[in-house]
């Protein structure tokens, strides 16, 4: 009853594409981790396919949960922990809507397995407003209307935060480059650029 020419091969190839991309994105997002990851991979013992207990540190809080090893960080955050600020849009490491900070640097949560995010400091957009007060960057996003439908916005805020932590006063060119890993469909780029420049203290 099956038609291998029809759907299985295509879906299989797609699957390969995803994991290859995921590995690339992870390395790209966190330079310097590659060797460690390789070493860890050699030492790691196989887990799964059933759910395994893990602990994640998110916005300074520890969360215990059980996930299948195939569950991505974005799905664990959104579906299991109810932390829904980061969004899932492309699920392929392209659009950046799922961005979170991993040890202070922006990373695509759709391209990282939840199990491999253990032991790392995860910050989501929710963690950027301390005691419910918007950060300077978030206030600048509001002031410059850097959100329309708002679905990509948390990813832009997180990517901007990552940029500003690396470079406190980015130039316009650095903002455009630093946010090159995020996409917006409604067209908020001008407001976003102005917001990041203002939060960074650069003259516009």
């Amino acid at each position: 009853m099956t038609d291998p020419q029809g759907f299985s091969r295509r879906k299989f190839l797609k699957g390969v594409g995803v994991s290859a991309l995921a590995a690339g994105a992870l390395q790209g997002a966190v330079p310097g981790q590659t060797k460690k990851d390789e070493k860890a991979a050699k030492e790691a013992k196989a887990v799964g396919p059933g759910p395994v207990p893990i602990e994640l540190e998110i916005n300074g809080e520890r969360h215990q949960l059980e996930v299948e090893p195939r569950v991505t960080l974005i799905d664990a955050l959104r579906n299991q922990l109810g932390i829904t600020g980061a969004k899932k849009v492309c699920d392929r490491g392209v659009c950046g809507a799922c961005s979170v900070l991993l040890d202070g640097r922006a990373a695509y949560a759709c391209s990282i397995l939840a199990i491999s995010a253990q032991g790392r400091k995860i910050e989501t957009v929710e963690g950027l407003s301390k005691q419910g007060r918007l950060s300077k960057l978030q206030q600048a996003f509001v002031r410059h209307d850097g959100a329309q439908c708002g679905f990509c916005t948390p990813g832009f805020v997180v990517a901007s935060e990552s940029l500003l932590r690396r470079r406190s006063r980015p130039s316009r060119e650095e903002v455009l480059e630093g946010l090159g890993g995020n996409l917006c469909r409604c067209g908020t780029y001008k407001g976003v650029t102005q917001a990041v420049l203002e939060a960074g203290g650069e003259d516009q």
Binding site: G82, T84, C95, V142, D145, C149, G150, G180, Y189
Partner: protein, 707 residues
């Protein structure tokens, strides 16, 4: 007795109307607190995924869901087609599964076994030749004496132009969450552009009384025209929720979204344009074609904007392609008609060695609003430095050429039917409730600005509620109809509430209600500002029953019909074919502007979406299998933050425009970018790239004379 006047205040008298203010939902959106339908999680939730047909067209020989159904964690696995059924596009749903987790559901959907017999299909729409059975040739139509028009022309200029099928690509996918609270009560969350009425579809599907369906869409990750329907995925979500008694969530995966959840029809045309040496247009003839997917319908109205009295003859052929169905895409039909028309005009100007700005000006008499366009062209000229910098085609030195291009557009934007309720309580709380939705255009801001303006209160004292079918009914958000509808229903509701409050307060002030006004947080006597009550003290007189002001769409406060001019500057590398956006100038009118900040954002967004379609977007189908080759965002490219260049928006906000009444502005700014950018590229490189997107390959092919 003279009541609070409903007419909009003059720009010079207004506090918020037409001024800048931040959108009320901004803080929630930048902090991750805004809850979209995609964010709704319910206890004991089931996740739904679909098995999709991978063929352009096929007959289903058999379908077997047994393997999927056997998987631990799968609760429902159900075929949606049967042996003998024909499936007509890649991405069509052939089976549905519901499971305890998204991962299990996705894997189960893959394990559904379907045997197909592929059938002849068509995914070609760029060239109508040889498409015999796949096309439906429409009758020629037109008006005026075309022969006389061409006879009067000094030149007849011919060209081919077009735009392929693109997708809506909403970042929040289509989807819903449906939960039965017992057999006769439903809570539902939809990602929808019509929250007031979608519960009715759910009622029909489930047999539940519509009054016992609570439908919510607090925030909408946009729609662009693709989220009006109660779709097959909503239907299956509802059925599984009813069958299992558990809450069920469906959110389309990105490939499903790009293949099945909305696309914009393609449009191509061969155009003959008669023109005199001084640039006067004399006749238009076109043969156009395009595809709306698996449909033999579709039409184009050509020419565009320059329509009044230009003799024309045209014929359109609808091409049936085995691709996901089209849906209204921001400014339906207009971006395509605009590209075809404005490119033909620019080619005519080039053939006559005229500046296209002069040719456009020469023919403004053919447009519906010549004075507005003349004014907008002048402003755009100044902002772009067009007259100072424009050069005839292909005159740049070196491999990187600069070019300027121009376009004009139009839209209606008349407000839809809307109702609004403004409630004032004795504590001084102000609630504005409207069953509309905010998909990013700033509906909340419209409600808040109008209520604050009318009641003379600070913006942050207004509590706004929308996105709920229990609120006063409001129309679907499409065609730029929302702002006109909700601004005027809110205005009339707030005026009603204000008059009731004044009647309560006037005796305290020892004044006639007709003498009183609401201003700066006070109820006061207009000619004697010493006699005033604070808004809070006035509300304290209300008593147990709150004041309820009701309002409806008011035709006297709104109107329709906008123009708009855009000018693009590009750099094109003729060695690599890469087009770079340098600048886009957008001059836009929209009558009475409610919030200048969000109106400008709509224009900026339209420009950027338009740039994306001009340079990158195309849904690519495999002619052999009929499958979609770029159903993911790594291959369906969108413009990024570094791709759009400088964008300059000028909103027409004179007393005259302000005095027209409210008009929506969602669609107009997305119409012109393809045309303006295509014209700028032609100006830069000296030849027309016939079709968008203006990819390196398309640019190099045009330069090499490759058809």
């Amino acid at each position: 007795m003279r009541d609070v006047e409903k007419a909009w205040p003059a720009l010079s008298d207004s506090t918020y109307l037409g001024k800048r203010s931040p959108r009320p939902a901004g803080p929630d959106k930048v902090s991750g607190k805004a809850i979209f339908t995609a964010d709704v999680n319910r206890p004991d939730l089931l996740h739904v995924k679909f098995t999709l047909n991978p063929h352009g067209r096929a007959e289903v020989r058999g379908i077997d869901v047994a393997d999927a159904a056997r998987m631990p964690g799968v609760v429902v696995a159900k075929p949606l087609v049967a042996a003998g059924d024909e499936v007509r596009y890649a991405g069509f749903e052939v089976a549905v599964v519901a499971a305890e987790t998204e991962e299990i559901a996705r894997e189960a959907a893959r394990r559904v076994r379907v045997e197909y017999q592929p059938l002849p299909h068509n995914v070609e729409d760029r060239d109508p030749e040889g498409l015999g059975e796949w096309k439906n040739e429409g009758r020629a139509r037109g008006e005026g004496d075309v022969e006389a028009g061409f006879a009067a022309a000094d030149q007849v200029v011919e060209g081919r132009y077009g735009a392929p099928i693109i997708t809506h690509c909403c970042f929040e996918p289509h989807g819903s969450v449906i939960e039965f609270r017992g057999p006769e009560q439903i809570d539902a969350w939809f990602s929808t552009q019509r929250i007031s009425s979608i519960g009715g579809d759910l009622a029909k599907e489930t047999g539940v009384d519509p009054a016992r369906i609570h439908a919510v869409c607090e925030h909408l990750g946009s729609g662009y025209g693709s989220k009006f329907q109660f779709d097959v995925w909503d239907r299956e979500c509802a059925r599984i929720a009813q069958q299992t008694g558990r809450p069920v969530k469906v959110m389309l995966d990105r490939d499903h979204e790009l293949m099945a959840a909305g696309s914009r029809p393609s449009a191509f045309a061969d155009v003959k344009l008669g023109v005199k040496q001084d640039g006067t247009l004399t006749a238009w003839e076109s043969r156009s074609w395009g595809s709306s997917g698996d449909s033999d319908r579709g039409s184009l109205r050509l020419p565009y904007v320059f329509t009044n009295g230009l003799p024309n003859r045209q014929q359109h052929t609808a091409i049936r392609t085995n691709t996901g169905p089209s849906r209204a895409w921001r400014g339906p039909g207009h971006p395509q008609m605009c590209l075809i028309t404005m490119a033909a005009l620019e080619d005519a100007a080039a053939a006559l060695s005229l500046d296209p700005l002069d040719l456009f000006r020469k023919n403004l008499g053919l447009t519906g609003r010549p004075e507005v366009y003349a004014e907008e062209l002048e402003i755009a000229d100044r902002l772009m430095g067009w007259k100072r910098r424009w050069k005839p085609r292909g005159q740049g030195e070196g491999p990187v050429k600069t070019g300027l291009g121009l376009s004009m557009h139009t839209w209606g934007g008349r407000g839809h039917d809307s109702q609004c309720r403004v409630t004032l309580s004795s504590t001084g709380r102000v609630d504005v409730a409207c069953g509309t939705q905010d998909m990013g255009m700033g509906s909340r801001s419209v409600l808040a600005v109008v209520a604050a303006e009318t009641l003379g209160l600070p913006l942050d004292l207004i509590h706004v509620q929308l996105g709920d079918n229990r609120l006063p009914q409001s129309g679907a958000s499409g065609g730029s109809t929302t702002t006109g509808g909700i601004a005027t229903s809110t205005r009339t509701a707030a005026v009603d509430a204000a008059n009731q409050l004044i009647r309560k307060a006037a005796p305290e002030l020892g004044a006639d209600p007709a003498e009183c006004v609401l201003r700066d947080g006070e109820v006061l006597v207009a000619n004697d500002s010493d006699r005033a009550l604070s808004f809070g003290d006035a509300c304290a007189l209300i008593g147990q029953e709150p004041i309820v002001g009701n309002g409806r769409t008011d035709p006297e406060l709104m109107t329709e019909g906008v123009g708009g001019v855009q000018m693009a500057e590009v750099k094109v590398d003729v060695e690599t074919g890469v087009v770079e956006m340098v600048k886009l100038v957008a001059v836009q009118d929209c009558g009475t502007i409610v919030n200048l900040t969000t109106a400008e954002s709509q224009v900026l967004g339209g420009c950027i979406m338009g740039i994306s379609s001009a340079l990158y977007e195309e849904r690519i189908m495999d002619p052999v299998t009929g499958d979609c080759l770029n159903a993911d965002l790594s291959r369906y490219r969108l413009a990024g933050i570094g791709d759009v260049g400088e964008i300059v928006v000028h909103m027409m906000q004179t007393d005259e425009h302000h005095g027209r009444g409210v008009i929506g502005v969602g669609e107009p700014p997305v119409i012109s970018p393809m045309a303006a950018i295509s014209n700028a590229v032609a100006n830069a490189i000296g030849v027309r790239v016939p079709y968008v997107p203006l990819t390196p390959r398309a640019v190099l092919s045009a330069l090499g004379g490759v058809k």
